[in-house]
């Protein structure tokens, strides 16, 4: 499972052994639990074994911006692997199992095994790319496009990770949280959601999102998966 993420980006040989040998323990967190708080000095990194999580920062007057989501199988704290003080919060979205790894162990592994270092570099850079796309999304697209884009990204990433995804998926977030991710109000998310639904671009069943026509949604969303740097096809 831990290994899976590494291969997400680059092929290793029996570096896998080294990774599997990493000291770690798995812990379960409830929904909404904080894994990292801004200002913490970090001693370990983690990998999401199951469940969903997200990163967020809050403004001086309490407004929250979700900066990225994490789906099962993704490493959670590479972003802080080489930084000493957390600059944002990491929180679970649902109940989740997290593999916790001492930072030092992963650091030295990264620096001593070129292939692993490479994989980590790639992983970090892809995350960086996702941050950039979010900035574009939040800064320059209107609510409808923005939401559609968000839904596309989630679908694409789930699929790339080998989970369901493509035609539909369960979106484990409240509209309030979606709003925080998009820089919108929960109320407006609701309206926009219904708009997309009324246009036939998505079908909602509770929190499940189904996508009748990927190309149609993708079109409206101004979505291109390039920034995800997937090795698979899709688009």
């Amino acid at each position: 499972m831990i290994r899976k993420l590494e291969t997400h980006a680059t092929l290793d040989r029996r570096d896998r052994e080294a990774i599997r040998a990493l000291p770690h323990h798995v812990r379960t967190f409830d929904a909404s639990a904080y894994l990292v708080r801004e200002g913490d000095s970090l001693q370990h990194c983690s990998v999401l074994v199951s469940g969903y999580a997200f990163r967020q920062k809050v403004t001086g007057d309490g407004l929250r911006q979700i900066v990225s989501l994490h789906i099962p199988g993704e490493p959670l704290d590479l972003q802080h692997l080489f930084l000493d003080l957390a600059d944002h919060n990491v929180q679970t979205l649902t109940r989740a199992e997290v593999a916790i790894i001492p930072r030092a162990a992963l650091q030295s592994l990264a620096l001593s095994h070129p292939a692993i270092g490479h994989a980590l570099f790639v992983n970090m850079l892809v995350e960086g790319s996702i941050f950039r796309e979010w900035a574009l999304n939040v800064g320059r697209r209107d609510a409808r496009t923005r939401l559609a884009h968000f839904l596309c990204e989630f679908a694409a990433r789930l699929e790339a990770q080998g989970l369901d995804g493509g035609r539909g998926y369960e979106l484990p977030m409240s509209q309030e949280q979606i709003g925080d991710a998009l820089g919108l109000t929960a109320v407006h998310v609701n309206r926009t959601m219904k708009l997309l639904e009324s246009e036939g671009l998505i079908v909602r069943t509770k929190r499940r999102i189904d996508i009748p026509s990927w190309t149609a949604l993708r079109e409206v969303a101004d979505f291109s998966s390039r920034y995800l740097h997937l090795r698979t096809k899709a688009g």
Copy 2:
């Protein structure tokens, strides 16, 4: 000069030698020249020797979002060091000198010299942190705060880089570009700029920005330099 950036984050020994020995050549670009275009497959990375540059992405219907700025001395394309296709554009802001380094050379250096690898990791992660802060800025702060925050970031980074900064600096951007960085219109940037000026938070002389009271601006801007992960004091 190239070395300077590496030390920005972490101390090296005579890894510096290795860095200085990197094959490279310096090239001068005009203002607004493209260094990288989205979709390019990259063969080299670069370091800004002098001048300013920025990264941007554009929306399907031509709206542009500037995702980050680069000041003299910063490495420019670490973001793509281990990714094959560019996911955004890199452009000069002013006439600039750029040191161009073959990607492969830097890659192997990063993977074979732990200290250098470490420095690069840190550099990438700090950039990532800046992206996150931009997302927060653009997504959750109103125009006034957003602009003030932007001005603070620029000041803090200039200062950290040992350039002027602190009390005032030359902002090498048109209001149109500032707008693209903040997700605002040039017109609104203008109004907001004048607002900050009328409040005595900044003093403008052409494109020069002077900051009468750092604490006052910092306050309004909801700015904390934590996310820049500077090793210096400031705040």
